[in-house]
Subunit: 435 residues, 2 copies
C-alpha cells in the first residue's frame, strides 16, 4: 500500500474511496494504545474516523511519535479506507503513515465534565466538540433551508440596515452608537424597511443579525440573534399564517432528512419533529386565556404571556400553535386592528411545542394612512423619524403582512437544547462578550 | 371573457397563462390614454406589463376611474394575456376589469430627472424604479450564487458576531457602543472568529454586515456593507487564490445567465463580463510598482495603492488581477510573511477590471505561535483581547488561509455602476442615515 498520490479526502466522503489509500488532514481528538497497536480518533471538520496504527506497519519511529501526541494535535494521516460495520461512520482507516504538524500539549477541554462558564470561556475551542458540530451543522441547514424555500416561493432577498436612525418599538432596549454628527441604533428588526421593499418587489425577506439590549438572563434570550423576516404585499393575516406553516414544515422535514446523523449525536427524539406538518393549530388569545385559567393559571385578559404561560399553552398540542388576535394595547403600533373587533390585532405568535415557546411573531400591518398616523401619535413616536414609513401608506398602500422567525430559538427547538447559548458560534449574553 | 376564478399571477409568469384571463395585483407605474383607449403600465415587483384598457370593453365608469389614477396607485387588474412581440416581456394584458385599492396622488418621483440627494431622501420609494429593481435583483443573485458555490464546495456557514470586545485592526474606524458594564465594537470583519471555526470545521464562511466608521466620501465606501469571508484550514496562499477565482467565475457566469434581463435594463456591456474566467492574472506588488512607474505614476515601493493606482493596474488587464506579496509593514498583524522574503506577506488583493478596484482581500495567516505573539506586541494590540485567538496557534495550529469579498463593490462592478450607493437598499454613508 503506497501513500504516493493518495488523494486528500474529507472524512465525510471516505466511503467513496473504500479500499484505497487516502490522505486525511485534521486533528487528533482522542488516542488510546495497547502494546503494538494504537487507535487515533481523527476529525477534520467534516466528520470523525478511527485510524488504526500498527507498529508492524509504520515502524518504531512513527508509532512512538504518534503515541505521544496530545489531544487536538494537528496532523496529516495516510491510510487505507476499510469498511467496518462497528464504526459509527461505517469505515475505519488502516494507517500507513502519520505526519505531525503540531503536537498540542495541555488542551484545556478534556473528555471529563467541565462547567458551563469554563466551556463558554473556551468557546473558540469548545466548537471542536461533536455536540457543537452537530448543533452548528443543523443551524446551517436551517438557514439554507429557509433561503431555498423563500427563493423557490418568489421572495427576493433585500437586506435591511443595521444602523438606523429610528426605533421600531422605543429606544430602551436598543444599543446606541455615535454616527458621526448624530446617533444611530442597532436594528432589532428589519420589518419597517421590509415594508418599503415589499411595496417595491411584492415579496421580500431580510435575514441577518438583530440586536436587543435587554437586561434579561433567560435560556431564551441573546443580545445578538439572527432573524429571517419575510414581508408580503397583497397578503392578509390568514394567508400570512399559511406561509409560515409551510416554510416551517419544509425546514423541519429537511433537517430530519439531511441532518439525521447530527440529530442522533444530540439524542434528539425525532418522533416529535416528524409530527411538524401543516396546518398548525390556530388558537385565539381569548381561548388561550381560557386554557390557562382551566389549567389553574391566574391570568387576566389583556396581559402578555410569560415563558411559563407559553409552555403551558404549547404543551397542550403536538404541533406548533398560532396564538392570534392579541389585545391591541400590548402590541406594536404597526399592527392592524381587527376591523370586526378593534380591541385585538390581526397578529399571531407561533409557539413551538415541547416548551420552546415563541419562535415567530407576525401579522397584518396597518395600511390606512390616517390610522397609522394616529397610532404613531398615540405611541409618542417621533413623526419625523417615521415620515418615510408613513409615505408607504400615502403612495399605493396595499394590504400586507409579514413575520419574523428567530433563528436561535428554532435551532434550540429542533436540536432539543436546554439553552439558546449553544445555538450560535459566539453567543452574546448579559455577561458574555468574550471570546 | 370572464374574470371569475381568474388566478392571481405574478407578471414574470404571465407567459404560462397566454390566452387566459389572469389577475395582476400591483401598482400603476405609468398611464397614458387617447380617446377611448388607455395604456396602464403595471408593475407587481416581479416585472412590468402593459395593460390595454378599451372603453368599449370595460364600460364608461371603470374607464373614467382608471384614467384618473395617479402614479403608484395600487390596484388589482384582470385581463387576458396576449402575446405581443413588441412588448418588452413578450406579452400585454387586454384588461377586462380594474379594482382600485388606493388612488395615489402626488407621487414625488416622476419620470423627469431628479437629483441624487432627492432620490436618496426618497430611497424608500426610489426602490420601485426599474433600474433599482435590476440592481437589487442582481445583488440577490450574487448572494445566492456565493452561498450555493460555498455549500457545494463543503464550506459550512458559521455566523460570527457583530458585537466584539476587540478590534481586528485598531479601534479608530470602529463604531462603539455601551454593552452593559463594558464597551463593544461593531465588527469590521469576522476573520479572526472564522479562524477559530475553520479549526473546528475545516472550511467555513461567514456572510453578513460589517461596519467601518471611516470619514471617507468616495464612490467605493459605505459605513455598513456586506462581506462574505471564507476561511480554509490546510490551505496555502496559492490554493486560496484558486478558491477565489473559481468562486468569482461561477458567480459572474451565473449572473450573466440568470440576470440577462436586468443587465440589459442597466445597459451593461456584458462582453466584458463574459471574459471573467479563471485563471485570473497574478501580479506581484513589485511588478505592480514597476507598472505604475512605467505609466508615469510616481509611486515608491512600500506604499499602499490608492483608488487611482488600482484603476491603472486593473485597466492593464482584461481579467481580474491578484496583486500579491504586499510589504509586511503595511499589512495586518495576522498576515503570514513569505518565508523566503519576510519583508512581504503571502497575501493578495483582487482588483476588478474596468476601474472597479479591490473587491477581495485575502491571504495566508500566521500559524506560528511565537511569531503571532511577537506581531501582536509589535502592533501594540492588547494581548488579553487576543488570548483566545492565540490559543488557535497553541492547540493544533495548521496552515490556513482565507479571504473577504466585499458584496457592494462586486455588485457595483457587475452592474457597471458609478457609485456604490445604489448597490444596497438603504445605504449608510457619511451624511446619510435616513431613511
Amino acid at each position: 500500500m503506497s501513500k504516493d498520490n493518495a488523494p486528500w479526502v474529507r472524512i465525510e466522503k471516505v466511503g467513496q474511496h473504500a479500499g484505497e489509500v487516502v490522505q486525511i488532514r485534521g486533528w487528533l481528538s482522542r488516542m488510546r494504545s495497547s502494546g503494538k497497536i494504537g487507535f487515533l480518533q481523527l476529525r477534520d471538520g467534516s466528520g470523525s474516523i478511527q485510524g488504526v496504527l500498527a507498529k508492524a506497519d509504520v515502524g518504531e519511529e512513527i508509532f512512538a511519535k504518534s503515541k505521544g501526541l496530545g489531544q487536538e494535535s494537528s496532523l496529516i494521516a495516510w491510510g487505507k479506507v476499510n469498511p467496518d460495520e462497528r464504526a459509527p461512520g461505517g469505515y475505519e482507516l488502516h494507517l500507513v503513515d502519520v505526519q505531525v504538524i503540531q503536537n498540542a500539549e495541555g488542551y484545556p477541554i478534556t473528555p471529563k465534565e467541565h462547567g458551563t462558564d469554563f466551556l463558554m470561556d473556551h468557546r473558540h475551542l469548545w466548537l471542536r466538540s461533536n455536540r457543537q458540530h452537530a448543533i452548528l451543522r443543523i443551524r446551517a441547514e436551517i438557514m439554507k433551508g429557509i433561503l431555498d424555500w423563500l427563493d423557490d416561493h418568489d421572495f427576493l432577498r433585500v437586506d435591511t440596515p443595521i444602523l438606523t436612525p429610528s426605533a421600531c418599538e422605543g429606544t430602551t432596549t436598543l444599543f446606541e452608537t455615535e454616527y458621526f454628527e448624530s446617533k444611530a441604533y442597532l436594528a432589532q428588526s428589519g420589518q419597517l424597511y421590509n415594508e418599503a421593499t415589499a411595496m417595491a418587489f411584492g415579496r421580500v425577506y431580510t435575514f441577518g443579525p438583530t440586536f436587543r439590549a435587554e437586561k434579561s438572563k433567560t435560556r431564551r434570550h441573546l443580545m445578538e440573534f439572527w432573524m429571517v423576516e419575510p414581508e408580503i404585499a397583497f397578503c392578509d393575516f390568514e394567508e400570512n399564517m399559511v406561509f409560515q406553516e409551510q416554510m416551517l414544515e419544509y425546514v423541519v422535514q429537511r433537517v430530519l432528512e439531511r441532518r439525521a446523523r447530527e440529530l442522533k449525536v444530540l439524542e434528539r427524539d425525532t418522533s416529535k419533529l416528524e409530527q411538524i406538518k401543516a396546518p398548525f393549530v390556530r388558537l385565539s388569545y381569548d381561548d388561550a386565556v381560557k386554557l390557562l385559567n382551566e389549567k389553574g393559571v391566574e391570568f387576566q385578559w389583556g396581559g402578555d404571556f410569560g415563558g411559563g404561560d407559553e409552555t403551558i399553552i404549547a404543551e397542550s398540542f403536538d404541533r406548533p400553535v398560532f396564538v392570534h388576535r392579541f389585545p391591541t394595547a400590548i402590541k406594536a403600533f404597526y399592527m392592524k386592528p381587527d376591523p370586526d373587533r378593534p380591541e385585538v390585532v390581526l397578529g399571531a405568535d407561533l409557539l413551538a411545542p415541547e416548551g420552546y415557546g415563541e419562535i415567530i411573531g407576525g401579522g397584518q400591518r396597518v395600511d390606512d394612512l390616517a390610522l397609522l398616523e394616529a397610532r404613531i401619535k398615540e405611541h409618542n413616536l417621533p413623526p419625523e423619524a417615521y415620515a418615510w414609513y408613513v409615505d408607504l401608506r400615502r403612495y399605493g398602500s396595499v394590504p400586507h403582512s409579514g413575520f419574523g422567525l428567530g433563528l436561535e430559538r428554532t435551532v434550540s427547538w429542533l436540536c432539543g437544547l436546554e439553552h439558546v447559548r449553544e445555538t450560535i458560534a459566539f453567543p452574546r449574553m448579559l455577561s458574555r462578550l468574550y471570546p
